[in-house]
Symmetry: C2
Subunit: 460 residues, 2 copies
């Protein structure tokens, strides 16, 4: 029995019916040439034959032990693989709509704590000669970015390769855990705990640096996030929507407007959120603020502050300019806001970047503790993450992956999460929302397309 | 906002991930003649068109309020019918096996407390020109017997009748709630709370009667339930198995052995459980004891004891004779045990019957309170209920119901529940177990058939 790090325990303690603390991934595959009607069922059975399961996927929580409520990990000696690896069918006509409906339901239920905290569902009955997989893993086991990377890295770039192993197999093709942690891996909870550990674990000198940085940030962020329909208590049920857009379309807009592709992605979201809120009569007068994790270049460390140079992950609070009618002008403001946001961090050490980034996230971490609610206005309205993904098409035993969409965690006071990831030549959007608070989430997909079209017209 | 009775609140307070407190029903229907491939989808859509929902199905819990942790009911003004009424598909080949797998999963997840506590799933993709429905309702709303009765009473005996309403419609055909409560409705939790209310709410005279009755019962039940694999802490995941047997087969055995049909049903269970436990090397030396709720004739009330005559529900602890090799001898012992069990209650008032029946159930009610576990040996090993059902075939808009199977609640220390119900000319078994504690639950179906065959051979 191994004690669990306090930060991992936190995900289990903070979890309630309203706050399932797992992340997910939806993958779409094309059936390989010549695949018969039994292909998906056989694929599922072949996964059950792989009885070897790596230790991470055998761990289950035990506890809380001790007064601080820390959990321990214990090994599940009677792993019931059929419980974890499931086969589901879609009702007719098996469109993406039925797939998203099922995925939303699967993502809304709690993982069973008496077992290792993951599930993998193979989904058949999808139109267009396709099938899907939905994977679900508890945040205490793996954060969202690592989970997505593990899913992707278990696949092959070679359509002819067979014997491709699932992520829980000890003989998976590549092992993301062998690689050192990447600083682009952003996770709100870890950022907060990192703040607690790094900042409060250091002396007054470090704390002073944070104060200076904070004052600087406060000066830059003259605007403040308005209260919005997304920043309220949430329920346990989820709605999930997903779609991919050609990277080239975003790149073209970026070239025409002298903005980055990430700026264009944010402008797509801004336009869609604006129209969505107008339709519901809920658009705040003041512009929405997005929290956007970005990889930044940190200054190399002076002796004694305990931080390192190289890359660091910073959280930028971006003005989404949802009060602006013109899409091109909106994109320009977003671009400017992102440039200014990066400037705030310029010349800071990694410690300073981490500490400053964690500050807006503190209410979010507190919000999930039962009984503790914050009365402060939100530091931001919506979290939008962009996770770099593989550049080339991937295959699972000859089945080409058409798309991969991340499912994330809405938090108390943050009812909508947008995570995008690049895959081959497209940008894949995954929108995870509280079912009650974010009605008709699917509409945002149509509005994202409209928003991109508007950007294409106004910047051309 | 209406305060919830303390007994209803109890089901919400006692509920945890390990103890979902909802009951379910699985119904199998034949597609009507000429039904096309869109029939089930259209059936589901037609249910969503019925936006009128009766108050019971609009209530959601709020609280706990006050120091005693009592919940209140509040009305859900924004009922999201699409959330409650779902359409699911089975994976190929769509056998009963795939259906039970899906039903087990649906029965294992918690209901969302932010919404009215029920779900209804229409299931398509079932072999043999059939479809199914699975309904799930929280025990705080409706007990298992009432839920089953509501499901059944919403259907029609007339295959030509159209416009048959679902159970949540205010215009459902018949209303079980309009009828006075029936004493056959057995429910462990209500029995315990009834004990608390009736016995401790009365004077010493009544308490003395309970003591006498208890001594008598203790003398009769010389045997005590052994510890068994079913009487351990349970987990949240469920396994469900279901099958029907022709009533005539059980009747024939009963006639040959001078036993009741209920005795034969118990003997079927006894034989199946015996073989199941032998196969796992887990058969206790001492015979298993079943708790069997039975409708009994109560003595009419003498003045002053506050009870009424007529029918009363008694709990009989039945020797399942699982130490007996010969099936006919086993049936004889079961029959004798049931006769003696009924004799214990002979001449008692309804109050005495209720009080005596509740005593073995107390550990079960205590077991679900977190942190409180009992170290006493189990009063019984398995709960077996027989709920009388409709005698004639029922139809939903022309679709004939082939079978209806109850899904019940395993409790802490009671990992397996067997509930049977009669429908037309068959006896329908529903076995609900903790997935971890009762492995390969489906095997019990084959063993029930074997057990019945053995009874037919040895009593012929």
């Amino acid at each position: 029995m191994a004690m669990m790090p306090v930060t991992d325990s936190m995900f289990l303690l903070a979890e309630a019916r309203e706050h399932p603390m797992h992340v997910g991934g939806l993958q779409l595959f094309e059936l390989p040439d010549g695949a018969g009607p039994e292909f998906v069922g056989e694929f599922h059975r072949s996964l059950l034959d792989l009885v070897d399961v790596r230790p991470l996927f055998r761990r289950r929580p035990r506890g809380p032990v001790g007064v601080v409520g820390q959990f321990a990990w214990t090994n599940d000696d009677h792993l019931d693989l059929e419980y974890h690896v499931r086969l589901s069918g879609l009702p007719r006509p098996g469109r993406v709509r039925e797939l998203l409906e099922l995925t939303s339901r699967l993502h809304g239920s709690l993982l069973d704590r008496h077992r290792p905290l993951w599930e993998f569902t193979v989904i058949e009955g999808l139109q267009g000669n396709r099938f899907a997989t939905y994977s679900k893993i508890h945040h205490a086991l793996l954060d969202g970015v690592s989970a997505l990377r593990l899913l992707q890295s278990s696949l092959s770039e070679d359509p002819a390769e067979r014997g491709v192993r699932p992520p829980w197999s000890p003989r998976v093709r590549t092992n993301v855990f062998d690689k050192p942690g990447r600083t682009e891996d952003f996770d709100p909870f870890r950022a907060v705990s990192s703040l607690v550990k790094d900042v409060f674990g250091l002396g007054p000198a470090a704390a002073r640096m944070v104060n200076e940085a904070f004052r600087e940030q406060a000066a830059t962020l003259a605007f403040q996030a308005p209260k919005s329909m997304f920043n309220v208590p949430i329920t346990g049920a989820r709605r999930f929507a997903a779609q991919g857009w050609p990277l080239e379309r975003l790149r073209a807009v970026g070239r025409a407007a002298s903005a980055t592709m990430n700026d264009v992605m944010l402008a797509m979201c801004a336009g869609a959120l604006r129209q969505y809120m107008i339709d519901l009569g809920m658009l705040p007068e003041k512009p929405l603020v997005a929290a956007v994790p970005m990889s930044l270049r940190a200054r190399s460390a002076p002796a004694g502050d305990g931080s390192l140079g190289g890359n660091a992950l910073g959280l930028i609070l971006c003005d989404l300019a949802t009060d602006e009618v013109d899409p091109a002008a909106r994109l320009a403001r977003i671009h400017e806001s992102m440039v200014r946001g990066k400037e705030v961090y310029h010349g800071m050490s990694r410690l300073q970047i981490t500490a400053l980034s964690a500050i807006p996230l503190v209410p979010l971490a507190i919000g999930t503790v039962p009984g503790l609610t914050t009365v402060t206005p939100p530091a931001f309205n919506v979290l939008i993450s962009n996770v770099p993904g593989p550049r080339r098409p991937l295959y699972w035993n000859g089945a080409r992956m058409q798309g991969v969409y991340p499912l994330s965690i809405p938090y108390e006071g943050q009812a909508l999460n947008i995570t995008v990831t690049s895959y081959a030549d497209s940008l894949e959007f995954g929108l995870t929302g509280c079912r009650r608070t974010v009605p008709h989430l699917q509409r945002l997909l149509g509005l994202l397309e409209e928003s991109l079209t508007d950007l294409e017209k106004t910047t051309a």
